[in-house]
Every structure is written in C-alpha cells, then in structure tokens.
Symmetry: C2
Subunit: 131 residues, 2 copies
C-alpha cells in the first residue's frame, strides 16, 4: 500500500470493515426497494417502478436508476416509440444479490425483538445521563 504509517493503516475504513463497499453499493438510499422490486416483479418500465415504490419522485428515481445501471446491477432498454417506452430489468450481476435479500428477509422476524428492546430501553433508561 502507499500509506506507510501504522496510523493510516488503522484509520483505513476498508481495513476496519471490508464489507463497507458492498453496503454502500447495495444499500444506498432507494437502491434496495428498486432492486427488490425488479427482482420480485421482473422487467418493468419507469412508471411501474415509481408506483410500486410508492413515494419516490421522478428525479430521484432517475438518479438511482442511472447509478444502478452504471454499476451494472440493472439494465435499461429504450424503445423509440410514441409514446416512448423504457424498460428496466435486473442484470445477472444484480440477480446474484438475491440470496442476500433472502437472508435479510429471513432475519426480519427478529425485528420483533428489536421492537421489544426499544421499549425496554425507553422504559428503563431515562433520557438524561446514565452511569
């Protein structure tokens, strides 16, 4: 590596957490719903995505779709019709994330424990300082 000091080595975020790059890639804002929807419902066009995701504005949806296309996780196909039609789909690389989504879905029942932990924390730990 270029950095020579031990401090720099310790301070390297990737060193501290090797999975951080993957997280940034896959779990950035809006990327999860987009990939999930494409993986679950298959190839679809812009407005379908927008309606299924629910609240996202066209601007932000476009931004995220471009990003995911650039990263090779989704594909975009343009049809020069009137009215114009664009179809998005998940790519093979994007589909390779499916097991990951499956793991996440499998863990989701534990959310009940999280909710219980929050209630416990809020009822036992006062908002002010704690020893």
């Amino acid at each position: 590596m270029i950095e020579t000091t031990a401090a720099a080595t310790d301070a390297d975020p990737v060193q501290a957490c090797p999975i951080a790059p993957v997280v940034d890639l896959v779990f950035s804002r809006w990327t999860t719903p987009i990939l999930w929807t494409l993986n679950e419902y298959g190839r679809q066009r812009f407005v379908e995505l927008q309606r299924r995701i629910g609240v996202i504005t066209p601007k932000v949806l476009t931004q995220r779709l471009r990003q995911l296309e650039r990263d090779g996780l989704i594909t975009r196909e343009y049809f020069a019709e009137v009215p114009p039609r664009v179809e998005y789909d998940i790519s093979p690389l994007g589909r390779s994330l499916a097991p990951l989504f499956h793991s996440l879905a499998e863990w989701s029942p534990n959310l009940a424990k999280v909710e219980a932990a929050r209630i416990h924390f809020d009822t036992t730990q006062p908002p002010n300082r704690r020893p």
Copy 2:
C-alpha cells in the same frame, strides 16, 4: 390488512420492499463498521472502537452506539473506576447478523465486476442525453 384502497397498498413502502426495515436497522450509516468491528474483534471500549473505525467523531460514534444499544444489537457496560471505563460488545441478537455479514463478504469479489461496469458505462455512455 387494514388499508382498504389499492392505491394505499401500492404506495406502502414496506409492501413494496419488505426488507427495507431490516436495511434501515442494520445498514444505517456507521452501524455496519461498528457491528462488524465488535463481531470481529470482540468486546472493546470506546476509544478502541473509535481508532479501529478510523475517522468517526466521538459525537457520532456515541449517537450510533446508543441507537444500536437501544435496538438491542449491542450491549454497554459501565465501570465506575478512575478513569472511567466503558465496554461495548455485540449482543446475541446482533451476533445473529453474522451470517448476513458473511454473505456480504462472499459477494464482495463481485465488486470487480462493478468497477468494470462503471468503466464500460463511462466510456460508452456520453454524459449528455442518451436515447
């Protein structure tokens, strides 16, 4: 379900992406490095975490630690010594995320493909509009 209109059903973000709550919980900013470090290096104190993670400020680290403690993913133990000592550790619930982290680590070799896709995109797709 309680919602009766189809529009509301379609617009429900959780409906659109059931794993979104888990993602928000586990992959919020800084939570991944914190959980990873605790899971990898075991019980440690505040400054150790701070040095391993690298660049995080005490304020933000405290915020995220509190959040994770409240969610039941980590534990905090205070020792009334001089100087005071605090030790954090991953909880059983937090440790149940380990397979997830493992899946992420397994996927990380694909980052090379992402990098290649970006280069391809940047060299073939002009910055201006595309059909």
